[in-house]
């Protein structure tokens, strides 16, 4: 074999010679010192060039701008981001306000609520609240709970006794719940009034109770034909919210037959007491914790399926009316801080639209 040229040496190093050529090549370099040196040098070039080529992959920071300036997408512009931020804030505020609205409604429901296990007030009431709640779970101790309340919340102390008595009645005789609630409806109003009066005098009045008071005051001049403002069908039961021209919110709850049976909202199986969430924090109403232990109903917005006593024109409280649709498979519960007559008016218009 002749001395192989450099190209052949590289071809051999790259494993690209045929088996025959390769055998002849190996035999030659094992005997030829000069070619063996050439192979050694070629190995160095192969390794060296490989290393140099790899060095091309080093892209040092700041020296070579790897990312070339691109047109920014429309949504990453500063203006768009600012606009998006504003929208987010606006949306969040809307949610908060709506919540507050609902809270207002719930609080007033709370006046008639058997169950109450909400955030304790930050005053001395807070300390007694949990205990009151526990005691209240046993009807026999309701009076004890009441005395706690009387000490802790003196401004609410004048009237709660009949209220609690009524609740005790309701708890011990669940079948009479509707009747009991009827009583409570009246009692609740009675409780609410002095409390509100107390609030008015109190300097540390919570904003939420402000909202409640405003809401209630506004209902004095309520107009018929409230407008449907929102339907929440994500929850079961479906709820529709109506706004009166005076700003009060009415809630229409639609219960399917299995739904209200399961929830015990029928005369045969009265509803267990419910937690009323969304009661205003800081408000002493939260001390009226009267939930029996087996009352895990999470939905705070189901109003009481009973008619509150007729209202005198001057005093407004939460009223609830309930009716079945023609087939009897659906139950409507309408509640809000307006008079029964006004609820009935809305009911009539709802029935008209549902037909």
């Amino acid at each position: 074999m002749q001395h192989p040229d450099e190209g052949m040496i590289h071809t051999w190093l790259d494993g690209e010679l045929s088996p025959d050529e390769s055998a002849a090549f190996q035999e030659h370099i094992s005997t030829c010192r000069q070619c063996a040196d050439a192979v050694a040098e070629a190995r160095g070039f192969v390794a060296g060039s490989s290393r140099i080529v790899s060095a091309l992959d080093i892209v040092p920071a700041g020296v070579i701008p790897v990312v070339k300036p691109r047109q920014r997408a429309w949504y990453s512009s500063a203006q768009f981001r600012a606009a998006a931020a504003v929208l987010v804030v606006a949306g969040a505020s809307l949610l908060v306000f709506r919540n507050e609205d609902q809270k207002g409604g719930t609080v007033m429901q709370g006046a008639g609520a058997v169950a109450e296990k909400s955030v304790p007030a930050p005053t001395s009431v807070a300390a007694s609240a949990p205990q009151a709640g526990e005691d209240a779970n046993r009807p026999g101790l309701a009076a004890g709970a009441n005395s706690d309340l009387a000490v802790a919340a003196p401004m609410a102390a004048s009237k709660p006794v009949p209220d609690i008595a009524a609740r005790k009645d309701a708890l011990t005789r669940p079948r009479d719940e509707f009747a009991g609630r009827g009583v409570k409806g009246g009692t609740a109003r009675g409780v609410e009034e002095p409390q509100r009066a107390g609030f008015a005098e109190a300097t540390a009045q919570s904003r939420a109770s402000d909202a409640v008071a405003t809401n209630i005051a506004a209902t004095g001049a309520i107009q018929p034909e409230p407008k449907l403002v929102r339907v929440d069908s994500s929850k079961t039961p479906k709820q529709s919210f109506y706004a009166t021209s005076s700003g009060a919110t009415l809630v229409l709850t639609e219960l399917e037959a299995p739904d209200f049976a399961a929830r015990g909202v029928t005369e045969a199986a009265p509803a267990p007491a419910r937690k009323t969430m969304g009661a205003p924090r800081n408000a002493p109403t939260t001390t009226r914790v009267m939930s029996p232990p087996s009352a895990p109903v999470p939905d705070p917005m189901i109003p009481f399926p009973t008619a509150a006593p007729a209202q005198s024109a001057a005093k407004v409280t939460i009223n609830t009316i309930t009716w079945f649709d023609a087939t009897g498979s659906r139950r409507y519960v309408l509640t809000g801080p307006v008079t029964v007559a006004e609820l009935e008016a809305l009911k009539a218009s709802i029935q008209k639209t549902k037909q």
């Binding site: 040229d5 450099e6 190209g7 052949m8 040496i9 590289h10 071809t11 790259d14 690209e16 070629a42 160095g44 070039f45 192969v46 060296g48 060039s49 490989s50 140099i52 080529v53 060095a55 091309l56 992959d57 080093i58 892209v59 040092p60 920071a61 700041g62 020296v63 070579i64 701008p65 790897v66 990312v67 070339k68």
Partner: protein, 172 residues
């Protein structure tokens, strides 16, 4: 999985690295690689996939290189390196940056065919694939590679010596 998707998964990494080394610009390399796969999509039959892809990519680079703006940008990057305008960084990073700049210069000093053959070989293409992609005779690939390697290493070492001499002058 479509054929082009398979091609992409199999060869994209190699192709982008080859092009990045060739062009010194990763974004540009990715653009060219994408364009290459798009062309593969339009191609009915590809006998030797890898050779075909590298050949098309290489031709695309050749066409693109005629575009002045890119060329200028590339040159301006080299000029930046020349000026030694390396951002403050740790010693090792600086050394590696200098190494990369030298490698780039040494590679750019090669003849186009030698450079491409070498870069393709570094991506694992065999001689027949390189011959096909560069339209060489298979027997000349070894010669081309041996020349490319020798010249690359020699010019790199030469550049290194120049730099060391400059640094010595600057220090004294």
């Amino acid at each position: 999985m479509s054929d082009v998707e398979r091609l992409f998964r199999t060869y994209n990494e190699q192709l982008v690295r080859y092009l990045t080394r060739r062009l010194g610009d990763r974004d540009w390399a990715e653009e060219v690689a994408q364009e290459t796969f798009i062309r593969a999509l339009r191609q009915d039959t590809i006998v030797n996939e890898r050779a075909w892809l590298f050949a098309v990519a290489t031709n695309l680079v050749r066409d693109e290189a005629r575009k002045d703006a890119r060329r200028r940008r590339h040159l301006s990057l080299l000029a930046e390196e020349e000026k030694g305008n390396v951002v403050e960084s740790e010693q090792t990073t600086l050394e590696r940056a200098q190494e990369a700049a030298l490698a780039r210069k040494a590679i750019d000093a090669l003849a186009e065919r030698d450079r491409l053959a070498l870069l393709m070989r570094e991506e694992g293409l065999d001689y027949s694939e390189i011959a096909e992609a560069l339209e060489l005779s298979p027997g000349s690939v070894g010669t081309t590679l041996s020349r490319a390697r020798r010249r690359l290493v020699e010019s790199y070492e030469e550049l290194q010596r120049e730099r060391e001499a400059r640094e010595k002058n600057a220090a004294s």
